[in-house]
């Protein structure tokens, strides 16, 4: 067995172990996904949802293209339009967060279990601790 082949098997084992651990944690709930696309007030966020959809779709498309050829390989280039798509989505998320945090009620936080609204934003809470 050549060194390259052995390295390939070891890398594959490490990656599979890493991915399996993450999936196991997600499956058992140790990695909490309840607020994956939630805003601080507990409502679902459209920007986060969109970013999730595009990330999953592009990742799936990339993997499909990689393994569909005669020999699996990474594409020579990622089209700029795909990067633009992800950029539009990610920048929209950032702008959306900026709008929320810039407004008066932007830091409102709701506990997902109890539904209790905490009007102290994280910044305000940090200032109080410092004070």
């Amino acid at each position: 067995m050549t060194l390259a082949l052995m390295t390939g098997w070891v890398l594959l084992a490490v990656l599979v172990a890493f991915a399996a651990t993450i999936i196991y944690y997600m499956w058992t709930g140790k990695m909490d996904l309840r607020r994956l696309i939630s805003e601080p007030n507990g409502d679902a966020s459209m920007s986060r949802f969109q970013l999730l959809v595009f990330t999953v779709v592009v990742a799936f498309g990339l993997f499909l293209v990689m393994v569909s050829g005669d020999t699996p390989k990474f594409p020579d280039s990622i089209p700029s339009s795909v990067l633009t798509l992800l950029g539009i989505s990610a920048s929209s998320y950032v702008v959306s967060k900026g709008i929320q945090l810039g407004s008066d009620g932007g830091g409102t936080h709701t506990d997902p279990d109890t539904g209790v609204v905490d009007n102290d934003s994280t910044d305000d809470a940090a200032k109080k601790k410092e004070g």
Binding site: W27, D43, D76, S77, T110, P112
Partner: protein
């Protein structure tokens, strides 16, 4: 052999991830509450009202993602990722602009208030 195992492992991991995320989205474990509702500025939960701006952004997102995935499926054997038609990008950008503009007006009411002379 290594290649075949790696591809199989990749499909299994992607499949498991998809099952977990889609399953939790459908079962409500991942919170989707209020995704399409008009948001209150102070974060309060008022009477749920469907927001047309959010609905159009959701549709634009799903249509753009579906269009690109269709392109990927048809050109997958070429080994290159397909381009996204610029019209889809313009459409999505316009949709985002409407969404963000509406959100800014909602969270910063002074933008829409008329100034007194």
């Amino acid at each position: 052999m290594l290649t075949a195992v790696a591809i199989a492992a990749g499909w299994m991991m992607l499949g498991a991830l998809a099952v977990i995320i889609v399953g939790q989205l459908l079962s409500g474990e991942i919170n989707l509450h209020g995704l399409l509702h008009v948001k209150q500025r102070d974060g309060a939960h008022g009477v749920p009202e469907i927001s047309a701006v959010r609905v159009q952004l959701l549709l634009a997102t799903l249509v753009t993602a579906s269009a690109w995935l269709t392109g990927v499926w048809t050109t997958r054997a070429s080994g290159t990722l397909p381009d996204i038609d610029t019209r889809w990008l313009y459409g999505l950008g316009a949709s985002q602009a409407v969404y963000l503009g509406r959100k800014a007006m909602q969270f910063f009411p002074m933008l829409t208030e008329q100034r007194q002379p």
